[in-house]
C-alpha cells in the first residue's frame, strides 16, 4: 500500500547555520551529527557573509557554491550586520522569504522575541545554558524541521 506523498527518500536539504561563536557551532554540530539523518550544514560566521550566500553574490556568484538552504538557523548577535537585520532582509525578499528561519540565540528579551515574530520568523529558541537541555533542544529542532515538517525546498524548484 502506498500513499501519495510529496517526499520520497532523498537527502535532507541544506541547513544554513549563521553563528559567530565557533564553540557554539561546535556544540551544535556535535548533536546534529548524532541524528540518524545526514544533514548537510553550511556555516556562516557573520551576517554579510550569510546574505552573500543567500543572494549568491560576491564569492558565492556561482550558484553551485551556494545551494538554497531548506532551513536557516540564525543567531541574533552577529558581528557587523546584526542577525535581526539579516532576518529582516530574508523575510522581505520575494525568493528568500519562503525559507523557514529559526532564531537560535541567547536573548530572552521579550522585545527581541516580539520583533522577530513580527518580522515573520518561523520559530524562536533561546539557547539553553544547561548541557542536557541544549542536547535536547537540538535533537527536537532537527527531528521537527527535518523529520516532521516538509521544508519548502522539497517542493519549490531549485532553479536560481
Amino acid at each position: 500500500m502506498s500513499e501519495s506523498s510529496v517526499t520520497s527518500i532523498e537527502q535532507p536539504p541544506l541547513l544554513l547555520v549563521i553563528e559567530d561563536s565557533n564553540e557554539d557551532f561546535e556544540a551544535f554540530q556535535r548533536y546534529v551529527r548524532r541524528s540518524p539523518l545526514t544533514i548537510p550544514i553550511y556555516h556562516c560566521v557573520d551576517g554579510d557573509d550569510a546574505l552573500a550566500f543567500l543572494d549568491r553574490t560576491g564569492r558565492y556568484s556561482d550558484p553551485q557554491s551556494a545551494p538554497r538552504p531548506g532551513l536557516i538557523l540564525l543567531d541574533l548577535n552577529l558581528p557587523g550586520t546584526d542577525g535581526r537585520e539579516v532576518l529582516r532582509k530574508i523575510k522581505q525578499d520575494e525568493i528568500l522569504k519562503v525559507i523557514p528561519v529559526v532564531v537560535f540565540t541567547t536573548s530572552n528579551n521579550p522585545k527581541d522575541i516580539e520583533a522577530c515574530y513580527r518580522q515573520g520568523v518561523n520559530s524562536y529558541i533561546v539557547k539553553p545554558m544547561d548541557f542536557n537541555r541544549l542536547k535536547h533542544s537540538i535533537q527536537i529542532l532537527i527531528d521537527y524541521w527535518f523529520d516532521t515538517t516538509i521544508l519548502p525546498t522539497s517542493v519549490i524548484d531549485q532553479r536560481p
Binding site: S21, M129, F131
Partner: protein, 314 residues
C-alpha cells in the same frame, strides 16, 4: 463692578393686560430718570485693555509651550538613556554568557569524550566547573532581571492581593510537597492599585525566603496588614503589610545587609544556596511603588518583613 445706569423708564415694567383682554401700556407720568442700580455685571472692555490681555495670554501660552517642550526633551533623554542602559545590561549579559556557555559545554564534552581517561576525582573536578558556570549564569540573569525591573514601566491595575498571595502559596506548596508549612492569613488582604506581576514576584520572594531560612519542624508564615489614612486625597489610604516567619532570624548587625544585592548571610551549601538577589528585588519593587520596606527579627525565633503600599497610586 457696581454701576448706575440711567433709563427713561423702568425697562422691566411689563405691558399690562386688562380684565377685558386689552393690552395697555402705562407710560410714566414723570420725567424723572428711572435709575437702575446694576450690580454684578462687568464693564465692557476697552480696546487698550483687550490688547494688553491678549499679549498676556500669548506670554502665558509661550511659557506653557516651552515647559511642554522641555518636558518632552527630558522624556526623550530619559528614554534614550533607558534604552542605552537596557542595551548595556543586555549586551553585558549576552557577552558574558557566551564564553560561560563555552566553558560549560566543553567541560561536559571533556567528561563525555574522555570518560575512560578520567578517574572519579577528575570527573568531580569537572562537575565543579560545570556547577560554577551554572551559578554564574544565575548571577548574570539576576543582575539583568534587577536592572530591567528598575526601568520597566509599571503596569498598574486593581489587584486583589489575596489572590496574588494565594497563587504564590500554591506554587510554593507544589515545589515543597514534603515540608509541613502553615500559611496564616488572619484576614483577607485588600485590593490595591499596583503592578500585578511585580507584586506577585514580591510575595513569591518573601514567602520563599520565609520557608527557606527556616529550620523548625513545623514551619509557619503569616501574612497580614494594618491600615492608615482615611482615603481622601489629603490623607490617602496606606497599607503596611507584614510577612512573619518562625525561621532562623537575622542578627541585628546584619539587618541592613540582607537587602544588598548578592549578599547572603550563609555559604552556598547552606539553606539551599541562592544568588542573594531576592530581597534586593523585593526592595526595588516596593520602592518603585513608592513604599518602604524594613525588617525586624529575633535570632532563632523568626523575622518579620514590613512593607508599605498605597491603596491608590497618585
Amino acid at each position: 463692578m457696581i454701576q448706575t445706569v440711567d433709563w427713561g423708564g423702568n425697562p422691566n415694567k411689563p405691558v399690562e393686560v386688562t380684565d377685558d383682554g386689552e393690552t395697555r401700556l402705562s407710560p410714566r407720568k414723570s420725567f424723572e430718570k428711572w435709575q437702575e442700580t446694576v450690580q454684578g455685571c462687568s464693564l465692557p472692555w476697552r480696546a487698550c485693555e483687550i490688547e494688553i490681555v491678549t499679549e498676556l495670554r500669548s506670554l502665558i501660552v509661550g511659557v506653557i509651550l516651552k515647559q511642554a517642550d522641555d518636558l518632552a526633551e527630558i522624556n526623550l533623554e530619559l528614554e534614550r538613556s533607558n534604552t542605552e542602559l537596557d542595551s548595556f545590561a543586555y549586551v553585558a549579559s549576552h557577552d558574558l554568557k557566551e564564553p560561560l556557555r563555552g566553558i560549560h559545554n566543553y567541560s561536559n564534552f571533556l567528561m563525555e569524550d574522555y570518560a575512560e581517561l578520567l578517574d572519579a576525582d577528575g570527573v568531580a573536578k569537572l562537575n565543579t566547573v560545570v556547577r560554577l558556570t551554572q551559578r554564574m549564569e544565575d548571577l548574570i540573569n539576576s543582575l539583568l532581571h534587577y536592572s530591567r525591573l528598575g526601568r520597566a514601566e509599571l503596569s498598574r491595575q486593581l489587584t486583589n492581593l489575596n489572590e496574588v498571595a494565594r497563587q504564590a502559596i500554591d506554587t510554593l506548596r507544589i515545589s515543597q510537597p514534603q515540608s509541613s508549612i502553615e500559611f496564616r492569613l488572619p484576614r483577607p488582604l485588600p485590593t490595591i492599585h499596583c503592578d500585578r506581576t511585580q507584586i506577585s514576584e514580591l510575595f513569591t520572594n518573601l514567602l520563599t525566603n520565609a520557608i527557606k531560612y527556616n529550620d523548625k519542624a513545623e514551619k509557619w508564615v503569616e501574612i497580614g496588614f494594618t491600615q492608615s489614612g482615611k482615603g481622601d486625597p489629603e490623607d490617602p489610604l496606606l497599607y503596611t503589610f507584614y510577612v512573619r516567619d518562625n525561621g532562623i532570624g537575622i542578627p541585628p548587625h546584619h539587618l541592613e545587609r540582607v537587602f544588598q544585592i548578592f549578599k547572603r548571610l550563609h555559604t552556598q551549601d547552606q539553606f539551599g544556596g541562592g544568588t542573594g538577589a531576592g530581597l534586593t528585588i523585593v526592595q526595588k519593587i516596593v520602592e518603585r511603588h513608592g513604599g518602604k520596606i524594613w525588617v525586624e527579627s529575633t535570632i532563632g525565633e523568626g523575622s518579620t518583613f514590613y512593607f508599605t503600599l498605597a491603596a491608590r497610586q497618585s
